[in-house]
């Protein structure tokens, strides 16, 4: 029988209930940090003027992200692109582990809400920084006329909830559909469908999260 719950699976560490998704995201973060430290010492410290191999891939990723961000937010890209890339890496790695049979950490609304709060903080810090303090930010909020200011504040406050619920619902629904398919045809069909729901869908959601961060930032600094 299919079980769906909004509450995170309990998991105890030293007698404290922290939830399974938190422990999984700790493990993913440990693996990511180890891998990135290795990359730093093996590739970044030995950068060559003519890139080869891994350096090529890294430069393509960082440069592609930077150019994408520049097209959306202009001169704020130096500040926003690393934040957006970090969020995207975190979400992608935490969701793609579903391929290895582990429950994804983003299948918990607390995790996705944390992502939404990160975006909210990024948007407001960038807005304050690039519009010249609180005064400029408030002027930006009452842009066409001061009447719309409450509505724009409400839009800004709803943005993290919207990001959280979108990511959570998409990942949860992907998981439910995969469980249903495993129940119907456990042999060949899941391998075909998983290539969409566990790989491509994760990529799309990661892309959407990065795009939304950039778009909200560009609204805040315009």
């Amino acid at each position: 029988m299919l079980e769906v719950s909004l509450f995170p699976t309990p998991f105890e560490v030293f007698g404290v209930n922290v939830g399974l998704s938190v422990v999984i995201s700790w493990c993913v973060m440990a693996i990511l940090l180890t891998g990135l430290t290795l990359l730093y010492f093996l590739v970044v410290r030995r950068m060559k003027p003519v890139p080869r191999g891994a350096q090529n891939v890294l430069e393509m990723a960082v440069d592609g992200m930077h150019r994408w961000a520049e097209g959306k937010v202009g001169h704020a890209a130096d500040f926003v692109a690393p934040v957006s890339m970090t969020l995207m890496t975190y979400v992608f790695c935490n969701t793609i582990i579903e391929l290895f049979g582990l429950p994804p950490a983003t299948d918990d609304i607390n995790c996705t809400f944390a992502m939404g709060l990160c975006t909210f903080v990024t948007v407001n810090v960038t807005g304050l920084k690039f519009r010249g303090g609180l005064r400029g930010r408030i002027q930006g909020l009452c842009n066409p006329s001061p009447v719309v200011m409450p509505i724009r504040i409400l839009t800004d406050l709803i943005a993290p909830c919207s990001i959280a619920i979108r990511l959570f619902a998409n990942i949860m629904v992907g998981g439910i559909i995969m469980q249903l398919i495993y129940a119907v045809a456990p042999v060949i069909l899941p391998a075909v469908v998983a290539s969409y729901f566990n790989v491509l869908h994760v990529g799309i959601q990661t892309f959407v999260l990065g795009l939304l961060t950039l778009v909200y930032v560009s609204e805040a600094i315009e």
Binding site: V4, S5, S162, I165, A169, N170, V173, I176, L211
Partner: protein, 78 residues
Amino acid sequence: MTLGIIAIGAGIAALCGAGAALGMGNATGKAVEAIARQPEASGKINSSLMFGLIMMETCAVYALLVGILIVFILGAKA
């Protein structure tokens, strides 16, 4: 009896898909027209279309979430 009413509720939640589909079809059709008129602006049109589609998809996903919660959480209680 209660289970039937819960199923009707989930069906009503799924009606949101009609609205999202209308919006998506309208937006994509207009974008295709715009690209046909001005093929050199296709990059900008595509990125705005993508943002709009994400917003509409969000609306449909909310309905999906409501439907799933109705079926699995209310349905398990009934």
